[in-house]
């Protein structure tokens, strides 16, 4: 098995797939293509992604209160994993219809790799978020800063997915154009499902002046809220 080349201790066993993904990305994709050690990869990536999201969730939630930190630490991994599970069948079946030879676990491995990458990028941004958490009290700024970080991290994750799909399909050329388009449409779908679920699971930050709550009532949507935050940040109007 290729992955055993790396000298790893027992406690690093969960980190091996992530290490492979970060340092030897092409090797990772090749192993996914060839189905090498997929269950271990899936489990390792899932654990790393969940842990990364949980820590970042705790960071953003702590701006409000300790309880909010706990809630966000639980909700953020849930958000990404549920979005993935909701969208996975679409990607798999549409790819299959258009002739892709990747099986469900390979698709899942690519998606988990994408969200694990997103989680790692978020983790890398966490010190920056803590810095701004301490040095600014402007809630709208803090929220938009984090939305920007999520966009960057999500973009890197999606780029990783797109690159993985492209590499895995280099030797599988049937309906390639169609599958590429499906991937782009799927990314849009993923973004829509993710943002709607994020709105449903909110609050992640916890608005100052409002008491802690696990979930807030539905109403409005993610996009109007971000628009309103921009409006207040630049002084056009006040969010009520």
């Amino acid at each position: 098995m290729l992955a055993t080349d790396v000298s790893t201790t027992q406690r690093d066993v969960w980190l091996t797939p992530l290490e492979l993904l970060l340092r030897h990305r092409l090797r990772f994709f090749a192993e996914v293509r060839d189905g090498v050690d997929l269950p271990h990869k899936l489990a390792g990536l899932l654990v790393c992604a969940a842990l990364g999201f949980a820590i970042f969730g705790a960071v953003i939630g702590s701006e409000h209160s300790a309880l909010q930190a706990v809630a966000a630490a639980l909700k953020l991994p849930l958000l990404f994993i549920v979005t993935l599970l909701v969208c996975l069948p679409t990607l798999y079946f549409f790819n299959s219809i258009f002739g892709a030879s990747l099986d469900l676990s390979q698709n899942l491995a690519l998606l988990l790799a994408a969200i694990a990458m997103t989680a790692i990028v978020l983790l890398a941004f966490a010190p920056v978020v803590i810095f701004f958490e301490i040095t600014t009290g402007n809630y709208q700024f803090f929220k938009l800063l984090n939305v920007a970080i999520f966009v960057i991290a999500g973009g890197i994750g999606v780029r990783q997915l797109s690159e993985g799909m492209r590499l895995l399909q280099l030797s599988d050329r049937r309906s390639l154009k169609a599958r590429t388009r499906i991937l782009y449409l799927w990314i849009l779908l993923y973004a829509f499902v993710g943002s709607q679920l994020a709105w449903t699971l909110r609050p992640f930050f916890g608005a100052p002046g409002l008491p802690f709550e696990w979930f807030r009532g539905l109403g409005g949507n993610f996009y109007t809220n971000i628009f309103a935050s921009f409006g207040e940040l630049f002084g056009f109007f006040t969010v009520r």
Binding site: M1, L2, A3, D5, V6, S7, T8, D12, L15, T16, E19, L20, L22, R23, H24, L26, R27, F29, A30, E31, R33, D34, V36, L51, I55, A58, V59, S62, E63, A66, A69, F98, G99, L123, A124, A126, P127, I130, E133, I134, T136, G137, N138, Y139, F142, L170, S171, R173, R174, S175, L176, K177, A178, R181, P208, G209, L210, T238, V239, R240
Partner: protein, 274 residues
């Protein structure tokens, strides 16, 4: 294809037969063209394969002539790509690099140690930022309150004076007494201390008064600054901007215990006791 009396099932079967017949025709045509064209050789290229590496790449020879396009190919882009495209030189190079890179031996790294360190450092930082070090306030929430407030109806604000205000429709309404504060079920924990300058940006709205009466007496009083002010009659009540529905009952003994203030209007005479 079928007559007008056909059932839906018969129609579907007829359509399927048509599609299959058309496909069979296309396959025949393709077979004839392939027989005329030289066959593109396909090779299995193990690229720098390691002893136990299963990585092999299936590529076409760059020099192989391309298979001619089938005359009956659909123009629909979603279906025309059923034909496998040969790799372009750039893609072949990419595939070669992919396989070369994938077959390269892995080198040990300290990444897991770094990741563990980052996670521990973040948890520590999180703890420090949220520990209540500044008079019960954490570092993360030590900054002045007003910068992070969302202005909304029901927001309670207090400046340097003892007066507490509630924000309603972009106006600040003075909460005229503790009784009002309690009756409206406000919590002291929700009162935000802000600069006077911040408070003054809101225009004054109608103060929040408590209108009470004793169940056995017709007289209505307005509680203001911990005193009860007798309201002379209903026209006065209405002219002050109050409504009869806002009047609440209070136990007579409790109401009598509140000291009298000036009546409304001030020339109304001696206030009666409830």
């Amino acid at each position: 294809m079928s007559d007008a009396n056909s059932t839906p099932e018969e129609l579907i079967l007829a359509m399927l037969r048509d599609v299959l017949a058309r496909q069979a025709q296309q396959m025949d045509l393709r077979a004839q063209q392939t027989a005329r064209a030289p066959i593109a050789p396909t090779v299995l290229m193990p690229l720098r394969r390691e002893p136990d590496s299963p990585i092999v790449a299936r590529t076409e020879s760059p020099s192989a002539p391309r298979e001619p396009a089938v005359a009956t190919k659909s123009t629909d882009e979603w279906s025309e790509t059923d034909e496998p495209h040969p790799l372009s030189p750039a893609e072949e190079q990419m595939l070669k690099e992919f396989n070369d890179e994938a077959a390269r031996p892995l080198t040990p790294s300290n990444l897991p140690r770094l990741l563990r360190g980052l996670v521990l450092a973040l948890l520590l930082l999180l703890l420090v930022a949220n520990a209540p070090l500044f008079e019960g306030n954490s570092l993360a929430r030590a900054l002045s309150d007003q910068q992070s407030l969302i202005i909304r109806d029901g927001l309670l604000l207090k400046g340097s004076a003892p007066d507490v205000y509630v924000i309603e429709r972009s106006q600040k309404r003075w909460i005229s007494s503790l009784n009002v504060f309690e009756v409206y079920r406000y919590q002291w924990a929700d009162v935000h201390m802000v600069d006077d300058q911040f408070l003054n940006q809101f225009p004054n709205g109608k103060p929040l008064y408590l209108l009470v009466k004793c169940p056995t007496s017709p007289h209505v009083y307005r509680i203001e600054n911990e005193r009860k002010r007798w309201i002379k009659d209903i026209p006065t009540l209405l002219s002050e901007g109050h409504q009869w529905q806002d009047v609440r009952d209070m136990p007579c003994a409790q109401l009598r215990a509140i000291p009298d203030g000036a009546p409304i209007p001030p020339d109304a005479g001696t206030p009666p006791q409830p």
